[in-house]
């Protein structure tokens, strides 16, 4: 029996995998099966100035499978980006998200595309979660026309306005006031939607964050500040940067919740709770306890300020994809082979997309001068040698 096998593995997983309600004796095709399953989160939520939501999360086979596939896709995508960077097809900055996938997928499961998400530069997977395609990701990373920003943004500047994803920001902390501004606009427009403004433990000390939080609390904005605490701001561990690394409490008068960010279901529960809260009571902070396997960026090996044992330890004990895999297997929702097949499929999809992305051309030179303004007024712009290169802005 799957359950007894799993009891012998690490203690943390036991509670998680014990089904609180039994699934059906016969398996329906998992991809369409929405039979409710209740699962407990790995750890209870810790709250500040509010009552924590329940540890019991409702899910279903279809959702779990979606989590698995989406996270596997994100994982593969980031690993492939690593190789492309080393092959010098991706230039400049490349900040990878592998390890943190549960935050992106859990959040999407709790919200709609009318809710807004804004994040910093570690945005590839968040963009995928918002409905961006793999082609748009790889093409943008390689600076090609098929990229989501037509090759003009790069890794840190992915956007998808039609599903309310507002980027993709390079300046640490700037996205938080911007996110509060989105929430302001949602309230102003009476849209009954919320904004999730994501930031890291490094950004959590930024003054502008507290300025924006103050205004959000004063004006009751539906803003949810989500600290993706991967415990390192570049090379600086949280205890060296923050006098108080209890980021969920840093809002003081603003309620907060600490969440196991490696548990997609806990993330989903917390985001659902936060959305309800924000629509009624204004801002709330979610601290996602998560981890990145890669260094800060591709120029950081990630092992000078943390031990390899720590990294492999997290991978073994808390990996978000493994958690969902075990959940699926213990509930008998799919076989190991079926899950491995999904991973193979995903790998092929990523490889095929990279091939396709490589075929996308670089932007035309005339693109240097497009989109400087939304309304260029026929104004002249100049290249490096203005006697040689001039353009009229449309």
């Amino acid at each position: 029996m799957a359950l007894s096998y799993l009891r012998s593995s690490s203690s943390r997983s036991v509670n998680l995998l014990k089904p609180l309600s039994s699934s059906l004796p016969l398996r329906r095709p998992i991809s369409t099966d929405t039979t409710p399953i209740t699962v407990e989160t790995s750890v209870p939520f810790t709250s500040h100035q509010c009552d924590a939501p329940s540890r019991s999360v409702e899910t279903n086979p279809k959702e779990l499978l979606t989590f698995f596939r989406d996270m596997a896709l994100m994982r593969r995508m980031e690993i492939a980006a690593d190789s492309l960077y080393k092959a010098k097809l991706i230039r400049g900055f490349c900040h990878l998200y592998d390890g943190q996938e549960a935050v992106a997928v859990g959040m999407e499961a709790a919200v709609t595309k009318k809710d807004c998400i804004i994040t910093a530069y570690r945005d590839h997977c968040t963009f995928i979660g918002r409905g961006g395609t793999l082609l748009e990701v790889f093409a943008e990373l390689m600076g090609r026309q098929a990229g989501c920003s037509k090759g003009k943004g790069g890794s840190m500047h992915f956007y998808k306005k039609d599903s309310n994803f507002y980027g993709g920001h390079g300046i640490v902390g700037a996205q938080v006031p911007l996110g509060c501004g989105l929430a302001f606009a949602q309230k102003y427009s009476k849209d009954e939607t919320v904004t999730f403004a994501l930031y890291g433990d490094g950004a959590a000390n930024q003054g502008q964050l507290f300025e924006a939080l103050n205004i959000s609390a004063l004006w009751d904005l539906p803003a949810i500040l989500v600290c993706e605490n991967n415990h390192y701001g570049m090379g600086t561990a949280e205890w060296r940067a923050a006098k108080s690394p209890a980021y969920y409490k840093r809002g003081d008068y603003v309620p907060g919740l600490k969440v196991d960010g490696m548990d997609a279901l806990a993330v989903k529960q917390a985001c659902k709770f936060a959305k309800e809260h924000a629509l009624k009571n204004g801002p709330i902070i979610l601290e996602m306890d998560t981890y990145r396997y890669h260094g800060h960026s591709m120029s950081d090996p990630g092992s000078t300020y943390r031990t390899r044992d720590e990294i492999s330890g997290v991978r073994q004990e808390r990996d978000p994809i493994e958690r969902i895999r075990k959940l699926i297997l213990s509930h008998d929702l799919a076989t190991e082979k079926e899950l491995k097949d999904i991973e193979k499929e995903v790998r092929k999809e990523v490889d095929d997309t990279i091939t396709q992305a490589k075929e996308s051309p670089m932007p035309e030179p005339s693109e240097l001068f497009t989109n400087v303004y939304a309304k260029g007024l026929g104004v002249e712009s100049f290249g490096a040698d203005r006697k040689e290169v001039r353009a009229t802005l449309p």
Partner: protein
């Protein structure tokens, strides 16, 4: 006040010397006198009335009626959801304004003076100006940042800087600076309607000045084009470019020069970015001499850009080196006599024009 009286006299003599052709170009039959303050207030009022997405945000814009009373009466008229008093947190509220613009609203963010915009400059440049480009057109930012810019009177070094050249160097921003009430109304309305981030540089000392405006200017549909300078006074001997308060000084300098037989053409830039290079160059090709006037620091200033543009486009037409009149290359002092030396005076413009015309007068003994 003396300035207002001389403005009226100037207006009348302006009519006298102006050739008939230009009457068609400008809005004649001055119907009313309004202050720049009232011009700005009415522009805000009309744009808020026309478009529910327009809202105001800044310190003291609501209950205090505006630190300089520019937003007077608007809270009462439009309510606290559209006129928002913010805490003294420029970085925070500017970021919030830009975020609201991302979503599609049209914020007008007031900086009590542009000196405080430095606290928020990352949002103006990196979050607002560059977003349309970085997103290849997905995220446009229809926001206006407005407030008094440059020197006031006796407010010292930290409250007197002119930010025109800083903001105007940045692609993705539009930078406007009105002089009179017509400019104030037309340019602010244009700024609010424009889908791109606009930095709108007002001048505290001009708020109380009255100017004649025609009925056309008073109409709620009135709007001025962005990127077009105005020839305030036609001339044939020397071109003087200026913006904001310095336009008034340049016009007075032109009056004085006329007595010496030098007919100066005064260009009111109105738009620092985009800069109306074609109007400036056309004028210089006519007069062959150029004086640029600005209040801000001289190095890397607006005049430097204008000079470069003219040298690049119209070198063969220059009969004299380009002259720059700018604020002194020092932080603004407090003592009245030193402050006077730190900003351009009318006699500085006159002297430079005469130099360009090879008719200089020996410098005074001091300074």
């Amino acid at each position: 006040m003396l300035a207002t009286a001389s403005q009226r006299i100037l207006g009348q003599s302006f009519q006298n010397i102006r050739p008939a052709v230009s009457v068609l170009r400008s809005y004649s039959s001055a119907a009313k006198q309004i202050t720049v303050r009232d011009a700005l207030n009415s522009a805000l009022d009309e744009e808020m009335s026309a478009d529910p997405k327009v809202f105001l945000m800044g310190e003291e814009v609501g209950e205090y009626q505006g630190a300089y009373k520019i937003t007077k009466g608007l809270l009462e008229k439009y309510g606290p959801e559209r006129v928002l008093d913010t805490p003294i947190t420029e970085a925070g509220f500017t970021g919030i304004g830009v975020g609201a613009a991302y979503y599609g609203l049209k914020p007008v963010v007031e900086f009590m003076t542009f000196n405080f915009s430095m606290q928020a400059i990352d949002h103006i440049i990196n979050s607002a100006a560059k977003s349309n480009y970085m997103s290849a057109g997905q995220i446009s930012v229809p926001i206006v940042f407005r407030g008094p810019n440059g020197a006031a009177a006796g407010v010292g070094a930290q409250h007197s800087q002119c930010y025109a050249s800083w903001y105007a160097s940045c692609p993705g921003l539009k930078v406007l600076s009105p002089y009179n009430s017509e400019d104030a109304r037309g340019l602010l309305k244009a700024a609010i309607r424009d889908p791109d981030p606009v930095v709108f540089l007002e001048n505290e000392l001009l708020y109380g000045e009255s100017f004649s405006v025609s009925d056309e200017v008073l109409d709620s549909s009135f709007c001025l084009p962005i990127g077009k300078a105005k020839i305030e006074r036609e001339g044939k001997d020397v071109t003087i470019t200026a913006f904001s308060k310095m336009v008034g000084y340049a016009l007075k300098a032109a009056e004085m020069l006329e007595k010496d037989g030098i007919y100066a053409e005064v260009i009111n830039l109105r738009s620092i970015r985009p800069l109306d290079r074609s109007t400036i160059n056309a004028s210089v090709r006519k007069t062959n001499r150029l004086i640029t006037v600005e209040e801000g620091f001289p190095q890397h200033g607006v005049g430097a850009e204008i000079c470069a543009s003219v040298v690049e486009e119209s070198f063969a037409y220059l009969d004299a080196p380009v002259e720059r009149i700018a604020g002194a290359d020092v932080p603004m002092p407090y003592a009245a006599n030193l402050e006077r030396l730190a900003v351009p005076q009318i006699e500085d413009i006159v002297r430079a024009a005469k130099r360009a015309c090879y008719r200089s007068v020996p410098l005074a003994a001091t300074a």
